[in-house]
């Protein structure tokens, strides 16, 4: 079974993230790039499926040159190879365009399953999975916290607020995962030393079959109109407990509709 894992490089959540005032896009030079956290869970799940069912795990990344770091890490975790779509024309693409670019690239690959994170930590639109499935005309299984493949069908537990739904589809399919699904492994030292030997195919948009008129900031379907930093936290109210502390807390929670 061949699995493609979508990996996005995002600014490290540990460091301060900034938007570039010039064009309202993420200032990616301002912080270290890391693998989008949920994508590590996607990689882990793919590796476990491969260990069980055989086949190959391919990493697919759409992003700038520096995304190589994240690709290498994914290979050190155990993925077999990678495809890196890297082209200046992609800069500023929004979620829909990213999904389009990924869909086109997938057209050049053979796969039974596409696994991705359910949301990125930077743009956080959470729509790439759905848009991608639509572009590909494939079933989408979202928010998976458990995945089982059986022959030509795949069954997931779809996490909801109060439990889970069991959703089944035929392969090929697109699955997005949540962090409950597994515990991502650390890259292994031996694979770190061998990562250079694994094939990484770098594609321009032309090579990936992506139409230049459909990507990039100028052609984006959405636009960031304005942004502002989160307002600083205001000083809290100090309540002195004079025997009625419990009542005051209950009143406060009630006023905020928590109880």
């Amino acid at each position: 079974m061949n699995i493609v894992v979508l990996v996005k490089q995002v600014p490290d959540t540990e460091t301060e993230r900034k938007l570039d005032p010039a064009d309202s896009t993420v200032d990616r030079a301002a912080s270290d790039g890391v693998i989008n956290e949920l994508d590590e869970y996607a990689i882990e799940e793919a590796l476990r499926l491969k260990e069980k069912h055989g086949g190959e795990v391919t990493i697919l990344t759409v992003g700038p040159e520096q995304a190589t770091d994240s690709i290498r890490k994914a290979l050190s975790m155990g993925a077999d190879k990678a495809v890196h779509v890297c082209d200046d024309a992609l800069a500023g693409s929004d979620a829909l365009q990213t999904a389009y670019a990924i869909a086109q690239t997938l057209g050049t690959l053979e796969y039974d399953l596409v696994i991705l994170g359910s949301e990125s930590t930077d743009a956080r639109t959470g729509v790439v999975g759905a848009a991608l499935a639509e572009y590909l005309g494939l079933p989408q299984l979202t928010l998976a916290n458990k995945v089982d493949v059986d022959g030509t069908s795949v069954k997931i537990q779809r996490q909801t607020d109060d439990g889970y739904q069991v959703v089944e589809a035929t392969l090929p399919a697109v699955i997005s995962v949540v962090e409950k699904i597994n515990e991502p492994r650390y890259p292994s030292f031996k694979l770190i030393m061998a990562a250079k030997k694994k094939p990484v195919t770098k594609l321009s948009i032309a090579e990936a079959g992506i139409d230049a008129d459909k990507v990039g900031l100028a052609n984006a379907t959405t636009q960031v109109v304005d942004f502002a930093p989160a307002p600083p936290r205001t000083a809290g109210t100090v309540v002195k407990d004079e025997g009625n502390g419990g009542v005051l807390i209950a009143d406060f929670l009630a006023s905020k509709k928590f109880v």
């Binding site: 492994r185 650390y186 890259p187 292994s188 030292f189 031996k190 770190i192 030393m193 990562a195 250079k196």
Partner: protein, 391 residues
Amino acid sequence: MVDFSLTEEQREIRNWVRTFVERELMPLEPEVLRRERNGEGHGLTPQELHDLRQLAKKSDFWGIQTPVEYGGMGLDAVTTALVEIELGRTFIPFSFGGGADNILFYANEEQKKRYLLPTIAGERKSCFAITEPGAGSDAKAIRTRAYKDGDHWVINGEKTFITGGNEADFAMVFAVTDPEKGANGGVTCFLVDREAGWRSEPIPTMGEWGPASLVFDNVRVPESNVLGEVGKGFELAMKWIGRGRYLLPARALGACERLLSMAIDYANTRETFGKPLAERQAIQWMIADSQVEIEALRLLVLHAAWQVDNGRDSRHAQSIAKLYGGVKANEIVDRVLQIHGGMGYTRELPIERWYRELRLLRIYEGTDEIQRRTIARDLLKGYVKVGASLG
């Protein structure tokens, strides 16, 4: 030319250790501090240490400097220094499993089976015993005596300040076998099992952990337990001490990085007289000086490690890095404590712990004075030329 960039592998290994420290070790810090505050033991429990080492081993992080043919990673000196810097960012004492003292690799095949391999596997624990009550900096003055009795050697004497001596089940003991020759051919290293009859006594210190004093009272060891050759012990001792002096300041460097980050956070948030500390020049200068010294130390450490990797005589560079690291780490932790005011002095924060722990760096494995002595002697005798460190 001078190239300060890391290889991709070095960056990945460094990031790996950084993630491991952030994910596995730092979350344990409050609990470790609490236990130490309450006198419930120091650092990690043996079980915690074991589990963490096994977790790292699953990703082949095992035996950092142990040669590949022994199942280790066989990392070069520069990469090992990068690993140590990352491990230094937490005060929790952690080292990867799968290591063994470098001089154990000089063991013969039969000794390797009994000592080296079980040590690498984590089944046996060693300690290195040269210092004596009457011989510290002047290691050549050791008096512990071993005399031959048939096919055995009989050891008498006392060792002190021996790291790991309380837990070790065998010791690498340096004893005089020929008083006429002394350190020039008269000292031998013995592998001595605890069952052979030596005793250890913990020595409380200002740090969280303590070394041991070891007593040898007619302890008999068979001839087959001589490590290396009879009379060649002092050379082995020097090899042990020279095994990686740059690694001590490397770990301290990691601590300094973390401490400085704490100071920056605190300076930005703590307000006095209506303004954050960060706006006071007195505080800014402490932060600036610390940063300059941290970066200088990084270059000294990596330069010494680079010399090791390139097969150069690194002793001079290692002494410089060890001396500078010891002195500056102590100045930096003192400043960081000062910036934190009363909070820095409490045991709620790990600063005072580091303050106590880093003090050791100026004493063991060659005191500041002994490093200066080495550095000065190299220059005064012309072994090293001023300004020639790049060759």
